[in-house]
Symmetry: C2
Subunit: 214 residues, 2 copies
């Protein structure tokens, strides 16, 4: 699945233009050295528009996080797709992509860096608590649908969702914070083994354990 | 397992005293607002000793990370303990503790915050790449020992270690970056299910799936 530019081609809308400038400044300077001034340097319109809308960098950044999360959600496979197991695999394929595009890599770095502020920044902590909650709920809904469809065993969907979210988060964070030394494919293989053993009903495993459904 | 103060009671040694001061300043100010001056404010001896040994805050922080990792390793169960499965469970009990002590919570926050610098800080990225590598190797060694002891199936120990490390990292990061909304116990239950299904040999599963070995 191709990952689309979060900001599209149209820079005419002010909010989108501020978000684009913030993102560019964040990639260039990192959180620590980010200032409203530096966001303004990336902004093609009058800088006063930024000062007019935001009190400080954290306020712009929380809006950027919400903007990026909305975008990320539009990139995720729709939860109504075919059967639940296909859907879950598509989510894992997307989040734990073996070779993500450069834009995805940059986005992940930005998200991980901002998450790293959360231990000492209540605004960011609330944001990540809420985004984790939403994502976990979406995963649990997929698992529940698999149970209804008779594809998955009658498991605790909330616990399974917690585990999947935690592993995806770990993979994402480790990939962004080490020097390419993370074997995402191994994590994915082992997660698939977990899903086969824990979720897939016996009669669905007869395909030789590949998790392929007819 | 009680978590011991990384700095002990003895503050007479200069390096330990600088590490203690850095840690205190980091907890108080966070990475962004940390300065050598502020580390000096927490240091009971002459501040010139700090300026004499370190060029900037990242240099002190990398040494702090190494200091904390060494401490963390001493807190981990020795890899020669009894059988490999007990050993693996002790590691998981420790890292994914349901109710860690306050000192552990503070330490985790500091580590997660510094890891959050890694996407834009090569020094930290190298450090976390190396510490992940070490930890993964220790986990793989435990799994290999389990295979030799006939407790575990003949699995790809490197892949299993990658998965376990990724899940532990995700649990640690999510716990430090959300508002207590992480169900670590659920992740642990599901990881245990993964270990039973993937690692434990059939004849070891006859205990009702609790993973308890006689």
């Amino acid at each position: 699945m191709a990952f689309e530019d979060p900001f599209g081609a149209d820079t005419s809308e002010t909010r989108t233009a501020i978000m684009r400038a913030t993102y560019a400044a964040l990639i260039e300077h990192g959180y620590e050295n980010l200032t409203i001034q530096r966001i303004g340097d990336e902004f093609p319109k009058s800088k006063s528009l930024i000062y007019q809308h935001y009190d400080g960098k954290d306020e712009v950044l929380v809006e950027l996080l919400e903007f990026l999360l909305d975008h990320f959600e539009t990139q995720m496979p729709p939860p109504t797709t075919a059967n639940a197991h296909d859907c879950l695999r598509t989510v894992l394929d997307f989040v734990l992509a073996a070779e993500p595009e450069n834009d995805r890599i940059e986005l992940t770095k930005v998200m991980v860096e901002l998450r790293g502020q959360a231990p000492h920044n209540e605004t960011f902590r609330s944001y990540f608590a809420e985004s984790d909650r939403q994502f976990r709920q979406e995963l649990a809904t997929i698992v529940d649908r698999g149970i209804e469809q008779g594809v998955y065993r009658s498991v605790d969907s909330e616990a399974v969702a917690e585990m999947l979210l935690t592993a995806m988060n770990g993979g994402t964070v480790r990939r962004a914070t080490t020097d390419g030394d993370v074997d995402i494919a191994a994590t994915r293989t082992e997660l698939d083994a977990y899903i086969r053993a824990r979720l897939l009903r016996e009669d669905e495993e007869s395909d030789g354990g590949k998790g392929e459904l007819s």
